[in-house]
Amino acid sequence: MTSSSAAAQQDVTLLELVDRVLNKGVVLTGDVTLSVADVDLVYVGLRVLLASVGTLEQLESAPR
C-alpha cells in the first residue's frame, strides 16, 4: 500500500468511527438528551457521510 492510500485508509477509518459513534449504538428511545442541537448532529452526520464517499473516491484513484 502506498503512503497516500495508507493516509486515505486512515481518513476513512476516522470517518467510519465518527459515523458509528454518532449514528449507531444503543439509544433507549425517549430518554436521549441531545445538548447539541439535533440539526447540528444531523449536519455532522451528513458531512461524515459525504466525506466518506469523497475519501473512498480518493482512495480508489490513489496509485496502488
Binding site: Q9, V12, T13, E16, L17, V18, R20, V21, L22, N23, K24, G25, V26, V27, L28, T29, G30, D31, V32, T33, L34, S35, V36, D40, L41, V44, S52, V53, L56, E57, L59, E60
Partner: protein, 214 residues
C-alpha cells in the same frame, strides 16, 4: 453513557470525555458504563467523539460482550438510567448475548464513475436506469452473500448513492476475523474495477441499535 455490558462490569482504567472518571451503574441485569458531566450531554466535537470511541474500545477489551451507546445519549442521573433500562432489560440482555465474542467489520464498495450515455428516449432512459439498478443489486449481493455467510449477523445498504454500491457491517466471531479479511482480499481480486474498503474490528456499534434483539 458509553456502553452496556453484562453484569458485573469490568471498568477499564483511564478517563472518559473531558477527562471525567469512568464508573459502572448497576441497572438490573445489565451494567452501564458512564461518566458524570455537568451538562446533560457533551458537545459533539471531534475530540469528544474520539474520547467516547476510545472508552468503548477499552470497555470492549475488558468485557466479554459490549453494546456501545450512541454519543450524547446521556441521562439526568442513575435513577433515570435505571428507569430507561428497566423497560428494555430483556432486549438489552438478548442483544448482549448475540454480540458476545464478536466484533464488527465494515465494508464499503464503490463503483467507478460511470460514463453517461445519452438516452434516445424517455423509455430508453428508464430502461437503462432499471438495468443499472439490477446490476448494482446483483453485484452487491455477489459481495455481500459470502461475507454474510461468515458473520453471525449483517446489515447492508445497497446503492445509497450512484457510486456507493454497498455499505455493510458484519458481526463476525473473533476467531473468523482473519478468514473474513482473506475473503475481502479475494473479492477485491475478483473485482479489480471496484474500490473495496474493509474497516475494523470495531465494537459492535451497528448491532446495538434501539431495535437490538427485538
Amino acid at each position: 453513557m458509553y456502553a452496556f455490558v453484562e453484569a458485573p462490569a469490568s471498568v477499564p482504567a483511564g478517563a472518559g470525555i473531558d477527562a471525567a472518571a469512568i464508573e459502572a451503574v448497576v441497572a438490573g441485569g445489565v451494567d452501564a458504563v458512564v461518566s458524570r458531566h455537568d451538562s446533560a450531554a457533551p458537545e459533539a466535537t471531534e475530540a469528544a467523539i474520539v474520547a467516547h470511541a476510545r472508552v468503548v474500545d477499552a470497555i470492549a477489551a475488558a468485557n466479554g460482550a459490549v453494546l456501545p451507546a450512541r454519543f450524547a445519549g446521556g441521562y439526568a442521573d442513575a435513577d433515570a438510567l435505571r428507569a430507561a433500562v428497566s423497560e428494555r432489560e430483556s432486549e438489552l440482555s438478548a442483544a448482549l448475548a448475540r454480540v458476545r465474542g464478536c466484533v464488527e467489520l465494515g465494508v464499503r464498495a464503490l463503483v467507478p464513475a460511470g460514463e453517461r450515455v445519452a438516452a434516445e428516449s424517455g423509455a430508453a432512459y428508464m430502461q437503462a436506469r432499471l438495468e443499472r439498478r439490477r446490476e448494482t443489486e446483483r453485484l452487491a449481493e455477489e459481495l455481500h452473500a459470502p461475507l454474510a455467510a461468515l458473520a453471525r449477523d449483517a446489515t447492508q445498504t445497497v446503492g445509497a448513492t450512484e457510486r456507493l454500491l454497498l455499505s455493510a457491517a458484519y458481526l463476525v466471531p473473533e476467531e473468523a476475523v482473519a478468514e473474513f479479511r482473506e475473503l475481502v482480499a479475494r473479492l477485491e481480486e475478483a473485482h479489480p474495477e471496484l474500490g473495496i474498503v474493509c474497516t475494523g474490528p470495531w465494537p459492535p456499534y451497528s448491532f446495538a441499535t434501539a431495535e437490538a434483539g427485538s
